[in-house]
Symmetry: C2
Amino acid sequence: MAASYFSNGSGSAPSLLDLLIESLRCLPGVGPKSAQRMAFHLLQRNRDGAKTLADTLSRAIREIGHCKACRIFSEHEYCSICLDASRIRSKICVVESPADVLTIEKSTDYKGLYFVLMGRLSPLDGIGPKELGLNILEDRLKKDTVEELILATNSTVEGEVTAHVLSEIAGKQNVQTTRLAQGVPIGGELEFVDQNTIAQAFAGRKSY
Amino acid sequence: MAASYFSNGSGSAPSLLDLLIESLRCLPGVGPKSAQRMAFHLLQRNRDGAKTLADTLSRAIREIGHCKACRIFSEHEYCSICLDASRIRSKICVVESPADVLTIEKSTDYKGLYFVLMGRLSPLDGIGPKELGLNILEDRLKKDTVEELILATNSTVEGEVTAHVLSEIAGKQNVQTTRLAQGVPIGGELEFVDQNTIAQAFAGRKSY
């Protein structure tokens, strides 16, 4: 711990300010310098905001769990999307993270349901089918009348492997699977698009 | 609030996740996207860290105040530097923020005391002598036998004005003032140093 000039009394014990700086480092992308800046800022200029943050954080950890049907974050047993009667229940879109749900909701007019893996298959990190809740998804495919399973995992190696495993599960229940189109991004100049994308886009060319 | 897809029940009330994302924005440099990423990260991967952060933050807001002598953050009445019997009590270094104390402690072998303004004179923002605790500093200059007041405010317009006001207060008590040297930074190439700095460095040239 670099900042120990604020230590007090016995000398060896870290001060409360040191503890605060250290605990702020649990935030992603926050190193020792940013943590120190955040701590000073909160104590000096925004104690009210800091209090709200502390209280909301405590409550969120206690109360926010996962939707029983789609595994997205939810304070209730089922999330608002799964409870929404206007959504088409015969389509399920599988994504890796809750942020992907937000992205799809913002960018498209998709009105089906979701299933959030909360990760991707990665055996080396100990993330297998059970960690991704694939048994819950399989149950849904068995019980509900699902017509299309949209595989919207990332276009990375792990994402592709995960999509493949998902398609096998869907195949067993005779559910059709689709995968997001791959190709040149809108506004992209060919010169600056990577070779793999060009190759995929070229192979997947459509009549114009 | 952009992310309201997690809202539940009544529909209009923001969800706890929305509240968490909103409250994380009290941190400096954290916009809506980073706040969302932080919230997801804490809920998905580091609930223990989040709990520690919430608890430490609550405690810090309650317990961390300011040292009665130098105004730096302290859980106790006086900070560890002011209580340290080995520090030279005839020198006081005036800085704008607690971070400046850390910087000077790390970079120099200064063994005197400090006075932290917690800001700089800025009448338009309502920051006058009282907000900077200049009366507390004046009392120290009157009561203690201070020989040197080191003006280590920033080298900005507000910092210079603040230094000037401090020197007037010191003058009334017949205390000598010094100011950090200005010039070309170590490792700096003349070509890339700004004109004001070059002018100052040129005017302040020393025999070699």
